[in-house]
């Protein structure tokens, strides 16, 4: 009896200790996110104002100005990157899930995973060699291409996974209606998996939206408006980088503000993903 009670107490202590360790670990995981955001907020919020979103950067020494060109530039780069990354990534993912032999697929899958692991600055170097040197100019095209190339394997893998989740019964049902294979894939399979595919695209956009390294010697940055895609273009992460390593206090404040805007934007994309995928367990994909 006595030993049974002692045993019970000991087990309770062990259980409480395990819970505490798990709790502390969870806090340690979340804490950096909170700290980063808090720090950005404290340092950046005062410089996030109307001017920041609407004005160009001002020369050193002048107070004020904004990052309007960098914000728009980032959006332009993302749009161009999407034109490359989304079609190739989605179609490649569909190919992996629906066509192709098992052996070729496992090779392609492996290569895509290797591509996903390549440091992003490498893409910048590759595009520098392929595009910038050839056309003798940094350009929005080059920056968008670098980001698009990073998006391809990301989107490809997520698309493949969600397309594979579509139960085979739907494919068979459509084919049994005399619907051709590609129409079945486009109208039934991809439609069923569309939420998952869009989620993958948004996550890829959020990922490359914050990339700086691949833009360093491709998009290069620009202190002025530029809507000619064959010219260097500003991008938010680049501008943050340039301002952060500068010796000027006012630029530092702007860099904080830029970082806050960037993180908030990416946070919003992630929230959108959460909303899209809500109830995903209940639906099919």
């Amino acid at each position: 009896m006595q030993s049974g009670k002692a045993n019970h107490l000991w087990r309770k202590i062990k259980s409480a200790a395990a819970s505490a360790v798990a709790f502390i670990s969870a806090v340690l995981v979340i804490a950096p996110l909170g700290l980063v955001f808090f720090h950005l907020l404290v340092n950046g919020i005062t410089s996030v104002n109307w001017d920041f979103f609407t004005k160009l950067p001002v020369p050193v020494g002048e107070i004020g100005g904004g990052m309007a060109n960098a914000i728009v530039g980032s959006l332009e780069l993302l749009a161009f990157a999407s034109m490359i990354g989304i079609p190739i990534g989605v179609l490649g993912g569909v190919y992996l899930a629906e066509y192709g032999s098992a052996r070729i697929n496992s090779i392609l899958r492996f290569l895509a995973d290797v591509l996903n692991g390549i440091p992003s600055i490498t893409w910048g170097v590759v595009v520098y060699g392929l595009i910038v040197l050839r056309f003798k100019s940094f350009s929005a095209y080059a920056g968008g291409l670098a980001l698009g190339l990073i998006m391809i394997p990301l989107i490809l893998r997520t698309t493949e996974e969600v397309v594979l989740l579509v139960p085979n019964g739907y494919r068979e049902a459509a084919l049994a209606l005399g619907v051709s294979r590609w129409k079945t894939i486009v109208h039934i399979v991809m439609k069923t998996a569309s939420k998952g595919i869009i989620t993958g695209i948004l996550l890829a956009l959020a990922r490359v939206g914050g990339e700086t390294a691949p833009l360093l010697f491709t998009a290069f940055g620009n202190r002025f408006w530029n809507h000619n895609l064959s010219e260097p273009i500003a991008a938010l992460p680049l501008q943050i980088f340039t301002y952060a390593i500068s010796p000027y206090d006012d630029w530092h404040r702007q860099a904080w503000a830029g970082a806050l805007v960037l993180v908030t934007g990416i946070f919003c994309v992630n929230v959108m993903v959460r909303i899209l995928t809500r109830g995903r367990a209940a639906s099919v994909v």
């Binding site: 459509a174 084919l175 039934i188 569309s194």
Partner: protein
């Protein structure tokens, strides 16, 4: 008792049926090295219900899926022999499998209405994806198909609701309506009631009975009572071979093969 009343059309003797939809000749099917169907030949009568029975793994589903080329999708599957549909060889190189499947519709074991579509969209999707845009025609076909599937009265006010919002039995009838909407010549059913409760099963069985005036129906079932109730002809498969095939009355009352008798009387399977 009930079945005897109904089976006025099929011959009660073993004579060949007057018209046949399918002529299956020396059909063998391999999954890789494994032979799932072994040299099966049989004629499927038109406007009649043919039931395929047999224990699990005997090749029932494999056989029925060969009748509309569903095996094309499975890699490493090999089909040998001939399947003639009204005289057309379904496996000749010149025939498009999509055309085959438009002529030979299929209903599956697990009801599978498309989850992204409404009830109405589910019914006409086959027509839409085959290029038919005429809304009036689609609406007519929608109502007609749902009526043939005995579902119209239950869903006519809910056509815009998701197909997956229906009950299991209704979903299966929706799938039947979807298959009928493209006006096939044949309806294949792969254990259409195995996931349904007795009441829903009874409805589907009644439906099958009514549909045979317009369609040739081949159904797989693991329920022998069901085969007895709904079919005019029964084929007994065992280990990939067609053991016995004939009018249902004969198979169930006076089978000529010992294995058939053992299976039907519940001695194995």
């Amino acid at each position: 008792m009930e079945r005897v009343d109904r089976s006025s059309e099929p011959p009660s003797t073993g004579e060949p049926a007057p018209a046949c939809t399918f002529q299956v000749q020396s059909l063998s099917i391999w999954y890789g090295e494994k032979r799932a169907i072994d040299n099966v030949s049989m004629d499927v009568a038109s406007n009649a219900v043919t039931a395929i029975i047999g224990p699990s793994g005997c090749g029932k589903s494999t056989f029925i899926r060969a009748l509309n080329r569903m095996h094309d999708l499975v890699p490493k599957t090999r089909v040998e022999g001939k399947v003639l549909l009204q005289g057309d060889d379904l496996y000749s190189g010149s025939i498009d499998p999509a055309i085959v499947r438009r002529r030979v519709g299929m209903v599956f074991q697990k009801s599978n209405p498309f989850p992204t579509m409404t009830i109405g969209e589910n019914v006409v999707i086959g027509l839409r994806l085959n290029g038919i845009r005429d809304q009036k025609f689609l609406n007519e076909r929608l109502e007609k198909s749902l009526q043939m599937a005995a579902l119209w009265d239950e869903v006519k006010d809910d056509l815009h609701k998701p197909g997956t919002s229906l009950s299991g039995g209704q979903q299966q009838r929706l799938c039947i309506a979807r298959a009928l909407a493209v006006e096939p010549e044949v309806l294949l059913m792969d254990e259409p009631c195995s996931a349904l409760d007795p009441i829903a099963t009874a409805k589907i069985e009644e439906l099958i009975y009514e549909l045979k005036s317009k369609y040739t129906i081949v159904t797989v079932t693991h329920n022998m009572q069901q085969a007895g109730r709904i079919s005019d002809y029964t084929a007994f498969f065992y280990l990939g071979k067609l053991i016995e095939f004939g009018p249902t009355t004969k198979i169930f009352t006076n089978p000529s093969d010992r294995q058939t008798e053992d299976y039907i009387t519940g001695r194995f399977g």
